[in-house]
């Protein structure tokens, strides 16, 4: 029996459970599949519930209100109440709608949203599906949601829904580009599409394996891609593009309620609406999970080796704690943004993707390349870092100015005499 490793506890338990089924390989495979999928399906709806609660409480606080507080302590059971109510609501399918597509749309949105979660490493040795081409798979499956949103918009036979669906297609297809290109830099640096390798590359293994606790901690942090110029810029681009990809404010045009009522969701009621709602949040988790993996060091975080353990890779705090902490932090930023910003207009949205994010992402790839080949001093990128940062800052400023042009500016007002 290996010593208990808090970091790997779940993995060890799983292996221990599976060891009983050694003689039945087929059953073992099936159980293994179940053991890796069921938690996903159980945990993320729970996260979704917590997030909706956080969002309502957070928005309320931003707006100087209290927020739900009648359901359980601090209103924590509010999502449960919402869920129960949604389950009981009548399900309306408009008479003129395309019934099949109307029914399928929430399903088509939900399935890939959960599927893409399986390529994210939640911890060391804890990845539901270790695919060599994880990042590609993520983007490929993730873009299916565009189809679902359009299906919803089209099948509802409602003009607002149709406009919402059209907007969704334009928006999601456009933002896919900066999203992928900002991820490309990371892939270039790692040389792999495997998400586990991407996380491993962000850890300084010799520091982690040293005996100094401070170094162990630092080794889990210092290597994150976000601390490099290309990583920082890439992270920002990725984050902004992901906001658009999952239709969050300020890019929530497909369901812009002040313009086109509720966009593609206009005709959805009851449980189908709840499914849409949930899938959008699960996609948000997924994409935040990916940006955590790509730029924020995945499951690594300030951590030390447990004193009783000899395993150089053992950690005191399970990695998935850090993973979820980062993911929720990003969700909170999204809520914060939602509480602050108004919405973009549809042509500004496209302009922003094609004229601003895309050139910036391409620039970022070059900077990444330069950073990779720039000479280092004792492994420290003394040339690559400042120059890369400067180049990224300058290109941000230039592209920003080019986009803004003389059209919008602060104005000076005068008074009548």
């Amino acid at each position: 029996m290996t010593p208990i490793n808090p970091d790997q506890l779940i993995v060890q338990l799983t292996q221990w459970a599976l060891s009983f089924l050694d003689s039945y390989p087929l059953v073992a495979v099936l159980v293994a599949i179940l053991l890796s999928t069921v938690p996903l399906i159980a945990v993320f709806p729970g996260c979704f519930a917590i997030t909706t609660w956080l969002e309502r409480k957070g928005l309320a606080r931003i707006q100087n209100r209290i927020g739900p507080n009648r359901t359980g302590p601090l209103g924590i059971l509010q999502p449960a109440a919402d869920g129960i109510k949604m389950l009981l609501k009548e399900d309306i399918v408009p008479k003129t709608s395309d019934r099949l597509a109307h029914f399928l749309a929430p399903v088509v949105l939900m399935v890939p949203a959960f599927t893409i979660l399986s390529v994210l490493p939640f911890n060391r040795n804890m990845i539901p599906a270790a695919v060599d081409t994880g990042v590609i798979l993520f983007f490929a499956l993730g873009s299916v949601s565009t189809l679902a949103v359009f299906m919803a918009g089209w099948s509802s036979r409602n003009k607002y829904s149709l406009l919402g669906g059209m907007r969704a297609i334009a928006q999601m297809v456009s933002y896919e580009l900066p999203l992928v290109l900002s991820g490309v830099t990371v892939i270039m640096m790692t040389g792999s599409l495997d998400t586990t390798k991407i996380v491993a590359q962000q850890q300084l293994s010799e520091w982690i394996q040293s005996s100094n606790a401070g170094l162990q901690c630092l080794g889990q942090i210092i290597g994150w891609n976000v601390f490099t110029p290309w990583g920082f810029a890439g992270f920002l681009i990725f984050f902004v593009a992901s906001l658009a990809e999952i239709n969050r404010c300020p890019f929530d045009l497909p369901e812009a309620d002040s313009e086109i009522v509720a966009g593609h969701l206009t005709e959805y009621s009851g449980f189908k609406y709840a499914l849409f709602f949930m899938s959008e949040y699960v996609s948000a988790f997924a994409i935040n999970g990916l940006s955590t993996t790509l730029f924020l060091g995945g499951w690594s975080g300030p951590n030390i080796r447990p004193p009783w353990s000899d395993d150089p890779n053992a950690l005191l705090i399970p990695g998935f704690v850090w993973f979820f902490a980062k993911m929720f932090a990003l969700m909170l930023v999204m809520i914060w943004i939602r509480g602050t910003l108004p919405r973009l207009r549809v042509d500004h949205l496209m302009g922003f993707a094609w004229k601003f994010l895309l050139p910036l992402a391409i620039m970022n790839i070059f900077v990444g390349g330069f950073y990779y080949y720039a000479p280092r001093w004792h492994g420290i990128p003394v040339v690559g870092w400042p120059i890369g940062f400067l180049v990224m800052y300058l290109s941000y400023e230039c592209i920003g100015r080019l986009n803004r042009g003389p059209k919008t500016a602060q104005r000076v007002y005068h008074y009548a005499s």
Partner: protein, 383 residues
Amino acid sequence: MSTETIAPREYQIYSGDDLRTNVLEISMGPQHPSTHGVFRMDVSLDGETVVKLKPVFGYLHRNHEKIAETTSYLGSMPYTDRLDYFCSMTNNWAYALAVEKMAGLAVPERAEYIRVIMAELTRLQNHASLVGFLTNDLGASGTPLLYAIREREHILDLFEWASGARMMCNYMRFGGVRNDLPSGWLAQCKKVVDDFPAFMDEFETLLTGNEIILSRCQNVGVLPRDLAINASITGPCLRASGVDYDLRKVDKYGIYDRFDFKVPLGSVGDCYDRFMIRLLEMRESVKILKQALATIPEGPVNDSKARNFRPKPAEAYGRIEGPKGELGFYLVSDGTPKPHRYHVRPPSFINLTVLEDMCLGQKIADAVIVLGSIDIVLGEVDR
């Protein structure tokens, strides 16, 4: 000046051989999140571009004028509260002004000051909430609106303290106001007025520099100066187009000539100008309020003779600078206790004349904020 009316422009739909598009007609409203009530816009869209926009009114036509013609002069006063339900105080004042003009009533000094204070407080809360509603139309999830309403509550408390009701104050009377201010009111009002600039600073930091608001409001819904005058646009919309016409300066009604304030003017006439003019007007209102609160005299607040007046056959048109524009009341008396004709000149109704001109060729999202920047209240539009 041209000799003909400035007619609405026609928007040319692109109809080359290579690309055939159909116009999508949608009816926004009467229940629509952006229409500020029950207003409808029949919009034709080419893609997302507005090619035709016809406003449809009357969903809140509750026969204010007809009811007023069957009620006594005093009985119409509470109904004026419900015209523009954000600004019951200024509505009261405009109506009282028209009746006073017709019946030749005088207003005591202190009442004039109270009227100015109430009107400027009304302007503050109206403009603050309008800016909030505008950002809601822009797609903010209510935060600026709720900040504005948080601040508005302080002003509503003052109204409630003086008149008994938060919104429907029914406070002004012919020849004065209904009752004197309760003790302590002026001190509290001073406190609210002194706190207000801090809120405005917060508001301006939150909104005026925001790149999204800049890009969405600037050069959107431009209203040219000549068209603004020809289409009888009034209020902040007119001044955003650069026309210096503020009834507080032009008519000097009440005692506005005693206060030192300025009239901010826009230069482009777009949504951003309309939005900024309101913010700047709030600063000026705070200035007026400070002066009025410092100099308010003691004395009676209403004319006891005005209580049982019976008008002679006459007609009068009284108008004031409401927060939304020129609010006028046209009264015709035939000597009976009821008005023969009672007509309201609602600013937001007439300001909608140019809605189509401002929206043509813009995106549908712009139509929403153009409507928001005009600042309409349906109680007043449809009456």
